[in-house]
């Protein structure tokens, strides 16, 4: 057992060394030929003075998956020799692993509340900045067969509605929207995260779910979105911050700049996020 563990570790070391060598090589070659041209392309002038390289690890809320993956590719293109690694998940779980000592550079949460877990522990470097906001929307079956038009129409009896659990941001937001409009809604289920709630509608097990606009957009034509005015009363802010123990602080700052740049905001806006 110990012998095999040792062997595994050695293999990992060898692999890591190899990867490092490759990275170094590619960094050298890129700086050797057309790097200056690329850098002038960059919209952000500050990055020229701040040489960014190596790998950067980003912990981001699950709802950011599509847009952040896109931005990651853009970042690697912009800063040759860098490698962006993502860990997408529930904001709560991510926050817990960061306070538990996970080696991350950037944390992008789906709610200020989950971000507060990290800042309270003193794990953030600087103040978190809100980079997007997300608004709730009703996801219905394609073609909206139940003629759902408002939050109130969800309370119709016989309708199977799923909400996120109150412990996760989308559930808290939905509850806030219901409370402000003094509506009482009994769902068939409080799902553990927004994707599970959406999934129940995609599988046609539920007739409607209250989810984020971005989720409706990502689901394509499998669900139909219905906007409702009360959603403006429960808009979620998405904060982002670089972390105190970031192994690659320079790259972390560069990534946050990209997210906040016009290019980054365009990608996020296309996914359905609102400007901060």
């Amino acid at each position: 057992m110990t012998r095999s563990a040792r062997r595994t570790r050695r293999t990992l070391q060898v692999a890591a060394a190899g990867a490092a060598a490759l990275l170094a090589l590619s960094a050298c070659s890129s700086s050797g030929d057309s790097s200056s041209e690329k850098k002038s392309d960059s919209s952000d002038g500050a990055s020229a003075s701040d040489k960014v390289s190596g790998s950067v690890t980003v912990f981001a809320a699950a709802s950011l998956k599509e847009s952040f993956t896109k931005l990651g590719h853009a970042f690697e293109k912009e800063h040759p020799g860098t490698k962006v690694t993502f860990s997408f998940g529930g904001s709560d779980a991510l926050a817990a692993s960061i306070t538990g000592g996970a080696p991350a550079d950037v944390f992008a949460a789906a709610s200020p509340k989950t971000m507060k877990i990290v800042t309270d522990e003193g794990d953030a470097s600087g103040k978190p900045a809100t980079f997007v906001r997300n608004q709730l929307e009703i996801a219905t079956l394609p073609g909206n067969p139940d003629k759902i038009s408002s939050l109130k129409s969800l309370t119709k009896s016989g309708l199977k509605v799923v909400l996120c659990d109150k412990t996760v941001p989308c559930g808290a937001a939905a509850q806030k929207a219901l409370d402000t409009s003094k509506l009482k809604l009994t769902p068939v289920s409080y799902e553990q995260d927004v994707k599970s709630a959406l999934n129940k509608v995609q599988l046609k097990e539920a007739d409607a779910a209250v989810v984020y606009k971005t989720d409706v957009k990502a689901a394509g034509d499998k669900v139909q979105g219905v906007e409702f005015p009360e959603s403006t009363k429960a808009i979620n802010d998405y904060p982002i911050v670089s972390l105190k123990d970031a192994p690659n602080a320079a790259a972390a700052k560069a990534f946050i700049r990209l997210v906040q740049s016009a290019e980054g905001q365009k990608v996020l806006g296309d996914a359905g996020f609102l400007k901060p």
Partner: protein
């Protein structure tokens, strides 16, 4: 001469177990990994006890939500075990006692839920028994029955995940049991079913009990298939594991408290059953 040989053999036979009894110490190459294994299993549980919010525990445990979840868990796990017994024991009998083509394949399929991630099991159940499922759409249109988001759905999800444990355990016991007892019963005028009910079933009762306990324990801890198939609604489909998971999101102390309750209940039940049934064999 032969008699001397026999006596010698008898002596060595007699001596063998005695020698084993004298040398009590377990060999180190076995003892060490055994202790590591034990520690590996126990340390997390001990840690749970160490970090438990003992002071706020009474408040956490007297909330109706906790009792609701606990009650639901016990009811559903027991019902799922009952379902597994009713269909699982005959299935085990079929696999152990009846020769039919493709028996090996069927046995492999029966054990599939053991390796299937429970969440995938839940999705598979939705595909089969959901409102739009292969079977579920007929249940809905003919009988008006929909299983997702209902307590019955929880029982279905738990039975799906737990039944293989029972089937495997009972089948093993059946294979070890002497089929000639069934023959003896038939020569006394018992039909095959009577022979099974009055002879085989009592003979394999310890194996069935062991399988049922395993299945019950698995059902009690079921999370993935339940939340995927039956959703999460307090009092209806929110069992203890679901309550623990969701509590973990914003109140880890409550999650630990809930886990302790689940732990205590399952230890009490398993220990009780072990004393009463499983030592019978």
């Amino acid at each position: 001469m032969t008699s001397v040989d026999k006596a010698g053999a008898a002596e060595t036979l007699e001596r063998a177990p005695r020698r084993g009894r004298v040398r009590k110490g377990a060999p180190l190459p076995l003892l060490l990994p055994a202790l590591i294994g034990l520690a590996f299993l126990l340390v997390p549980l001990v840690a749970l006890l160490v970090r438990a919010p003992w002071r706020s525990l009474p408040d956490l445990l007297t909330s109706t939500e906790v009792w609701q979840a606990l009650q639901l868990s016990l009811v559903c796990a027991t019902a799922a075990t009952a379902v597994s017994l009713v269909v699982g024991v005959p299935l085990a009998w079929l696999l152990a006692r009846v020769e039919f083509p493709g028996r090996g394949l069927v046995r492999a399929l029966v054990t599939l839920p053991l390796v299937l991630p429970p969440v995938v099991g839940g999705v598979a159940l939705l595909m089969a028994l959901g409102r739009n499922g292969v079977v579920g759409q007929w249940l809905d249109s003919w009988f008006g029955i929909t299983l997702p988001f209902t307590t019955t759905g929880v029982i279905v999800a738990e039975a799906f995940v737990a039944m293989p444990f029972l089937v495997i355990s009972v089948e093993g016991t059946l294979r070890a049991a002497d089929p000639r007892y069934e023959e003896a019963a038939t020569t006394l005028g018992a039909s095959r079913f009577t022979a099974f009910r009055r002879v085989t079933l009592p003979l394999i009762a310890p194996g069935i009990a062991a399988g049922a306990v395993l299945a019950w324990a698995r059902a009690l801890g079921e999370f993935g298939a339940t939340i995927t198939f039956a959703g999460n609604f307090p009092g209806r489909t929110q069992t203890m594991p679901l309550a623990v998971y969701l509590a973990l999101q914003n109140d880890p102390d409550a999650a630990i408290a809930l886990s302790l309750v689940l732990l205590a209940v399952s230890i009490a039940v398993l220990a009780g059953l072990r004393d009463r049934w499983m030592t019978a064999s």
